[in-house]
Point group: C2
Amino acid sequence: MDDAVAARFAEIVGEHDLLTGDRIPEDYARDESLTCEPSKPAAVAKPATAEEVAALLRMAAEHGVPVTARGTGSGLSGAARPRPDGLLISFERMNSVLEIDVDNQVAVVQPGVTLAELDRSTAAAGLAYTVYPGELSASVGGTVGTNAGGMRAVKYGVTRNNVLGLQAVLPTGEIIRTGGKTSKISSGYDLTQLIIGSEGTLALATEVIVKLYPRLAHTSTLLAPFGDLDKVMKAVPKILASGLTPDILEYIDNLTMAAIVYTEQLSLGVPDEIRDATQAYLVVGLQNRDSDRLDGDVERAGELLADLGAADVYVLDGGSARKLIEARERAFWTAKAAGADDVIDVVVPRSEMPGFLATVREIATAAEAGAIGCGHAGDGNVHLGIFCKDPQRRHELLHDIFAAGMAAGGAISGEHGIGEAKKDHFLALEDPAKIALLRRIKQAFDPRNILNPGTLFD
Amino acid sequence: MDDAVAARFAEIVGEHDLLTGDRIPEDYARDESLTCEPSKPAAVAKPATAEEVAALLRMAAEHGVPVTARGTGSGLSGAARPRPDGLLISFERMNSVLEIDVDNQVAVVQPGVTLAELDRSTAAAGLAYTVYPGELSASVGGTVGTNAGGMRAVKYGVTRNNVLGLQAVLPTGEIIRTGGKTSKISSGYDLTQLIIGSEGTLALATEVIVKLYPRLAHTSTLLAPFGDLDKVMKAVPKILASGLTPDILEYIDNLTMAAIVYTEQLSLGVPDEIRDATQAYLVVGLQNRDSDRLDGDVERAGELLADLGAADVYVLDGGSARKLIEARERAFWTAKAAGADDVIDVVVPRSEMPGFLATVREIATAAEAGAIGCGHAGDGNVHLGIFCKDPQRRHELLHDIFAAGMAAGGAISGEHGIGEAKKDHFLALEDPAKIALLRRIKQAFDPRNILNPGTLFD
């Protein structure tokens, strides 16, 4: 990017909010992907309005400058890594909760709002935005880009199910509105859903309308150790069929639990002899607006877990429960601290989890690699820390694991996205007819190919 | 279409299942739209497999033959009305429930399966497909095309929220699979969601994976007459904020209720003096897996409705409740029988319903027309029978009503779709930048423009 172009960008957002050269902090060169090398952009713009975003995109299109959007950089797929010759648009100044609309149970927020901030704002109204990916420092815009999920998705769905509308800027520079404060629309193609999960390649969200739920007052967390991972997996459909509607249904394998307990200095009250005979744990969260009903559900869930083969069932006290959930949310950091070389999140139909995990164990053993983890058992979303130093062997290992997941009727990623990190596997494994169609859709939005080139596609 | 082309279509599906000329029944010329004139196609094909559908589309593309898909023809927007020179693909032979998968709580069905059949199949497994538009003779494929909603959407969402994956044939002839038996995927653009609600203009679904829920054993229905329509509308957000999660939350204005009671010979137990002072009714359906909890919810809902201004609250007995719900589901037929000239289903944010309905009354009065109805109060989806004989005046009236709905943050249709019937209004009122983008997306799927030309776009 030459200086003249940077100067034009500076005219749009102001000198103060257009960074070049040494003014660009290292942090803007990367997201949290473990495998994408950092890459500083030529310039960083911090727009304050949708109109400024539109002007930036028009200018970028005119000069053929690639544009990457950034929320808080907590993504795991490299979709927020900028191009060295490109413009990074950081949404950090567009960070207002514009409205908490109690009657319609929605919030209208700017993309730079973090989930933690949104949680605080909604709590004041007795409501909640129920998408809780592990990282609450994530921005709403970022979660729209990746279609983020998290633990509560088993009850409330993922970002896709909780975003009702957008204001978005097209790479051709127009500002459009999609959807609205309504949960149903049948009036033309659903652009909201198309933009969600598109990883910054189709349009940039400048306002997001999210669905809120009443914040339920009473919660309880059960921990059930199982001697056998298969039994955990087979218990999951039964729990969901029971009608108990847990808001958390997670499995944690014994190695991951050991790492969590050690790192977080947790005390869960599991006796040594049970812990030593445990292959995996199931964590079941229950919520209710009524404490008596919650008690009834806890009792029923305890009986059900015992019937399904749990060695015991522990109702965690509030403090331990919170710590365990938070530690589970930080599982990525635990894996990273343990030296994981990659972190993946294949999704399969939940009934396929036992078979898929057995296949993963075989593939990893054959490759002399490690693949341990935890995951959203109710969703079939398997999070694995991959331990395999050699890049070529790791590439083959991942290829085989992704292929196994897809063969089981699943997909490469349940919630992290493809980004740059998994792009090669995505393009190699996905149906070429679908890839060709996705490319034509990309072209329909972005004829100059300025938005996040290199993400999803080559 | 010349005879040679028809002969090629016959080679694909067999002579018996390719109809031309007098062999085409009148019914294939139309759907249930009140305003689209019937139009017989040049040929009707009844494929048995996705491969046959693909072969038909390739042949149609080669010869520039427009193609319209048809389920059971129960649509209300004219999106299944064929072109006189075109091919109608009827999915009546692709009518198998392929799988009820209890562990994953999904069903895999062919597009020609009706909702009534799916309801029977899932009931046997203790599960339910929770999308119940009024017309259970609708096909699953048709509901995918329109993103059908219905009364239970207030709790369970619309078709969009309950379809997890598709097998679909592109107008370029490829058969693709989208999504799967999982509720979360972040691996490329969401083609499932893009095809849902596209009214047969982007791709034809040949298999549909739908989400199922446990079928709840205990249900109760409350009827609350209100002296004032505004009070009904203002009660709705309070009921939803209470956490009672009704599966039905409908309003019925007094004229529509009178027509329903008369047509269906219903006896609801409302005393004359209350009925005469009623402007609208709220119908609240509650479900629970536990009968004691249901009783508690009914009591709580009754108190809440009384607090919110209901003149009284009636818990309907099972037979009356079922009849009232069925009659409400047939409200379209009641409106048609009463001589309605059109039926529309504008959606607005639910908090905007009082203002929107007041505006509709003003517009209708000024036009010396009638606009009466009922609707999905929890969803802001207002169903109105329009009584106005003169086509030009009716067109202006609808334009003004749709414009008012959009100005209130809503859309022309919540669940019926745009089709041919509302296309002129859609194109006149929607943001031209969005229309241009939708056209480019259409082009990305269907470069030869063979799928349902004239629906959504000119």
